[in-house]
């Protein structure tokens, strides 16, 4: 759904990366408890350039270069969060969160509950996920299901600059650890720039968004797959008269299952699209919840288009075969509609 922006709100077209950077800058200007910490975030400006210029504005005390110690880095962030700071941790590739799974899954995620609800762990862990860059098996994964599985963690995957800004504000303000997964192919992508308000605004965690309204089938997709699904939907609309509704959960946890089931009840069909490997993936959860809550409205079994069951391969030919393509999404939609 296009967000209606009142006339007095100043907007300008910016990239996904710029939206994330300016959000961090604006929040850090307002709240001295917020700081950025990560590998190469200072002079280098972050592996993807997200924090370029922030060292100059905020200094070394608030834009902190970390040694290559992801486990300690995330543990340190959790320790500072539980004592009153609001750290933003940048993990350059989301693959590296696996190095710190104890700190994420056993420490940060559980402190509040284990301590009887008396502790708060307000930290945001930003990480670049996804493939398509030829970075191969250890730098291209989509690991959202690993973290979405853990109670105590919130998981956010913005698909556009507007959502990135509003969701990041909410993530930083949230008193829980939030895993904020950005997509490398969205960062500087000029194709996907959009109007974003200059001022800070919030998009509540747990609110999905209808990115394209349609009546024939509900396509639930996350992150970069939202863009691919929208492109397929436009083409199918023009060429085949098929009207897809594309729903972006935006936050995997909490999950706005209400909006998704409402859409499925309207269209009667569900295709889930995710870049991650399908087995044990997040879209299995979406499919299950839809089946539980909207079974009687379904005209066909829910289907998934997911990454193939293998590590992300290096060679472009293989990488294209592993990651869901426009063609595979198109086939999934047609199959779900019983047209192939």
């Amino acid at each position: 759904m296009t967000v209606s922006i009142q006339k007095e709100i100043k907007t300008r077209e910016i990239t996904y990366l710029e939206a994330i950077r300016e959000t961090m800058q604006q929040v850090m200007r307002n709240d001295s408890n917020v700081f950025l910490i990560g590998e190469d975030v200072a002079e280098y400006g972050g592996a993807f350039g997200v924090s370029v210029g922030m060292l100059e504005e905020f200094g070394k005390e608030r834009v902190i270069n970390s040694p290559i110690s992801e486990d300690a880095l995330i543990g340190v962030a959790a320790g500072s969060a539980v004592t009153g700071m609001r750290p933003i941790v940048e993990i350059m590739f989301s693959d590296f969160i696996t190095i710190a799974m104890d700190e994420i899954a056993n420490q940060a995620a559980k402190m509040r509950y284990m301590f009887g609800g008396k502790a708060k762990v307000p930290m945001v862990l930003r990480a670049a996920g996804g493939g398509g860059t030829g970075a191969a098996a250890q730098h291209s994964q989509s690991l959202e299901a690993l973290v979405a599985h853990i109670p105590g963690l919130k998981v956010v995957m913005p698909s556009c600059p507007y959502d990135a800004k509003g969701l990041l504000v909410s993530a930083i303000k949230d008193d829980n650890p939030v895993i904020f997964i950005e997509h490398k192919l969205l960062y500087k992508n000029k194709k996907y720039i959009e109007n974003v308000p200059e001022e800070l605004y919030e998009i509540p965690l747990g609110s999905a968004d209808i990115k394209r309204e349609g009546k024939d089938i509900t396509v639930v997709a996350t992150s970069y797959m939202v863009k691919k699904s929208l492109e397929v939907a436009e083409k199918l609309s023009k060429e085949n008269g098929i009207d897809c509704e594309v729903v972006d959960p935006r936050t995997l946890r909490p999950l706005d299952i209400g909006l998704i089931t409402a859409s499925v009840k309207k269209t009667g069909r569900l295709l889930c699209v995710e870049e991650a490997c399908g087995f044990g993936g997040f879209m299995g959860e979406v499919s299950a919840q839809v089946a539980e809550q909207a079974f009687d409205w379904l005209d066909a079994p829910p289907l998934r288009v997911s990454g193939k069951n293998c590590p992300v391969p290096y060679s472009l030919v293989l990488e294209n075969a592993m990651i869901p393509s426009h063609d595979r999404i198109r086939e999934g939609i047609l199959k779900c509609l019983g047209k192939i």
Partner: protein
């Protein structure tokens, strides 16, 4: 009787003093043909990397590469000091180790171009080239990812009593990973036959060693594990060779691990997209003046092992071999998309 033996050995070998250690000049005892082969390997790495850089510039490499230019003496000196069937573990900046360990340039280049004929059938790319047949347990996309893998390989060597050792390469940045501590401690308490070879190229991506550590020498960490440790000039091939030979004998004899810090410098950016704002041109220039390849070549010339003309011939020879590898890689087919899910399970 034993006393006499010691005297004979002392007379036979020239001893050197390196960083406070008495170390035998093993290099002096090397056959000339090996010394020449070493020079060729250095050139092969240098030219392999410059061709790779050209492919990156031309957009023929999907993904990124981390170039080893400037650090060649560390990989070649250390690996030539190991036995042929010893193991190595490598890093994300792994082309040098791979070539030094005897990998085929054509299969390496084919892998970088994502071809079916590459070492990993196009599945791994630059950061994951492995050649298990030569004892190369692989490059690694995760910084420090190979430190404990190396210790595990050393555990195998110990349990199988196969008289092999492990040369475990990692960078300065990796020395701050948690698994560095775990692996070095295990290697120490279990007397594992492994050399932890830290390539201190002064930067972990953009973070200078002086900011990432509060100690002057990474090898000082030896104290925490009660192991041998040394800091050497990683751009001096002969010093690397002698030091690693010394500690290879030491660890092979069951004395436990050693930590060898090789001081060197990466000439190129961290990866393909690096504006290098974190260092000065002057600093780079000062290290380029310590180029390990002419240093080694000139040492061979001055010792009379080769002539200046031989040096040029060896360089030309390395380039010619590389041209063949390029032709092979470029003319090889891409893998079939149908193979994408093959090899997931053994």
């Amino acid at each position: 009787m034993p006393k006499e033996n010691t005297i004979t050995i002392a007379k036979k070998h020239k001893m050197l003093e390196i960083d406070g250690h008495k170390i035998k000049d093993s290099f002096a005892e090397l056959d000339s043909s090996i010394k020449i082969e070493i020079l060729k390997r250095l050139y092969e790495i240098r030219y392999f990397e410059s061709e790779t850089e050209q492919f990156i510039i031309k957009g023929q490499i999907h993904g990124t590469c981390h170039l080893y230019v400037g650090e060649e003496a560390t990989a070649v000196g250390a690996i030539y000091a190991l036995k042929k069937d010893d193991y190595i573990t490598s890093t994300h900046r792994g082309h040098g180790h791979c070539i030094a360990k005897g990998a085929k340039l054509d299969m390496m280049m084919a892998e970088l171009l994502g071809k079916q004929t590459g070492y990993c059938k196009g599945k791994g790319g630059s950061m994951h080239i492995a050649d298990v047949t030569t004892g190369n347990l692989g490059a690694n996309g995760i910084v420090g990812g190979s430190i404990d893998i190396g210790a595990g390989a050393a555990l195998t060597c110990k349990l199988k009593k196969n008289n092999k050792i492990v040369g475990c390469f990692f960078g300065d940045g990796a020395a701050n990973r948690g698994n560095f501590h775990g692996a070095l401690n295990m290697a120490s308490i279990w007397d594992l036959p492994i050399l932890f070879i830290c390539e201190n190229n002064q930067y972990g991506m953009s973070m200078p060693v002086r900011e990432a550590f509060n100690i002057k020498r990474i090898s000082d960490r030896k104290a925490s594990y009660n192991m041998e440790g040394i800091t050497i000039d990683g751009n001096n091939l002969i010093e690397v060779y002698n030091t690693v030979s010394h500690f290879a004998d030491y660890t092979r004899a069951g004395n436990g691990p050693a930590l060898i810090e090789c001081l060197t410098y990466r000439w190129k950016g961290h990866s393909k997209s690096d504006a290098q704002v974190y260092r000065t041109k002057e600093e780079l220039k000062s290290w380029m003046e310590k180029d390990p390849i002419p240093r080694y070549r000139d040492a061979l010339i001055s010792s009379g092992t080769i002539s200046a003309a031989d040096g040029k011939e060896i360089e030309k020879d390395a380039m010619a071999g590389l041209q063949e590898a390029l032709r092979f890689a470029e003319s090889s087919p891409f893998p079939s998309p149908d193979d994408v899910e093959e090899d997931v399970y053994a």
